[in-house]
């Protein structure tokens, strides 16, 4: 049995990059929480961290390939992470039963108006630009 040193090295490098990128993401998140708590900002800390990370990428302070090994699995499984938060809707079943018509109207009208307004505007703007 021969051991492919190059392939092994590649895997080891990849395995190292995952904790590095998660450490970068976590450091942005923790810093944003600390700043948000200290100054009592109402703007959500994870969003401040996202904007800060975006700026860091734009300014070239961070390289995309440092982050990608960690962000890819996180984004791939993101829908799973909000399942418990959404499942807690059961707590509000009396409120939903009472106002089901509003929810039903919003369910169809909000996306319909959003689709038409964005699509129409973009088509017009592209046509005239």
């Amino acid at each position: 049995m021969t051991i492919n040193i190059a392939a092994l090295g590649k895997h080891a490098k990849l395995a190292l990059r995952l904790p590095v990128s998660w450490a970068i993401l976590s450091s942005f998140l923790v810093t944003a929480h600390l700043i948000s708590d200290y100054f009592a900002f109402s703007f959500p800390a994870p969003l401040s961290a996202m904007l800060a990370l975006f700026l860091a990428l734009q300014l070239g302070l961070l390289k995309l390939h440092w982050l990608q090994p960690g962000t890819q699995p996180l984004l791939n499984f993101m829908p799973l992470f909000f399942v418990p938060a959404a499942a807690k809707v059961v707590e509000h079943s009396p409120l939903i039963a009472e106002h089901w018509l509003v929810l039903l109207l919003c369910l169809f009208l909000v996306p319909a108006l959003g689709l038409i307004s964005i699509g129409f505007l973009m088509q017009r703007l592209r046509g005239t630009s």
């Binding site: 059961v90 509000h92 929810l103 129409f120």
Partner: protein, 228 residues
Amino acid sequence: MMWLALPLTIIAFLCLRQLHAKVNSPLLNPVLWTIIASVLCLVLFDLDLPSYSRATSPFNYLLELAVVALAVPLYKQIHQLKKQLLLILIAVAVGVIMATSSAYVIATVLDVPQQLKASLASLSVTTPITLLVTEQLGGIGSIAASMVILIGVVGAIVGFSLLRLFGIKDRSAQGLALGGACHAIGTATAIADNELSAAYASAAMALSAILTPLLVPLYYPWLVHWLG
């Protein structure tokens, strides 16, 4: 017993995702059905909600980390569509305002409590952002999140037909509308349809994730002031 909540949620999601990959219908959206399965378990076994929250709390940290990670697709999309960034920004901002206004007007006309109005204020953005913005406005995150997912499913089913019906045939405009109004599920529909729509849908989804938390907390109090 409650320690099973986390592994069972993961297993249910992975199985439903496999099924969705085979059948490929928006009606079989894996997130939607994992939520429905979780709700059914909570109701049928009369499970304690605070204990359920504690057992699934690692997801909260991962969700926050995933929100931070959204900076990466945003950075990539902005570079791809640099030339039309202003047009896209205007169209997506109008979409965000339209979604907040229409939901607020419907809720005001039908006289619902303020907490429910706040829960419907940010429906045109990806779910983790909705959870954060709704919490900031004093709404109920779980209602907002469920609505956002259902809106995505509606958009995936009728999105392209509705756009064509209203004469919107430009593929970039169709993609932008799907990503801006129906977020991740709408974007997935655009990705399945054609490459041009897919690029615009991804950009719209990423930009609405930035614009919604910036615009809605400023616009919502204004709506409350004028419409009550």
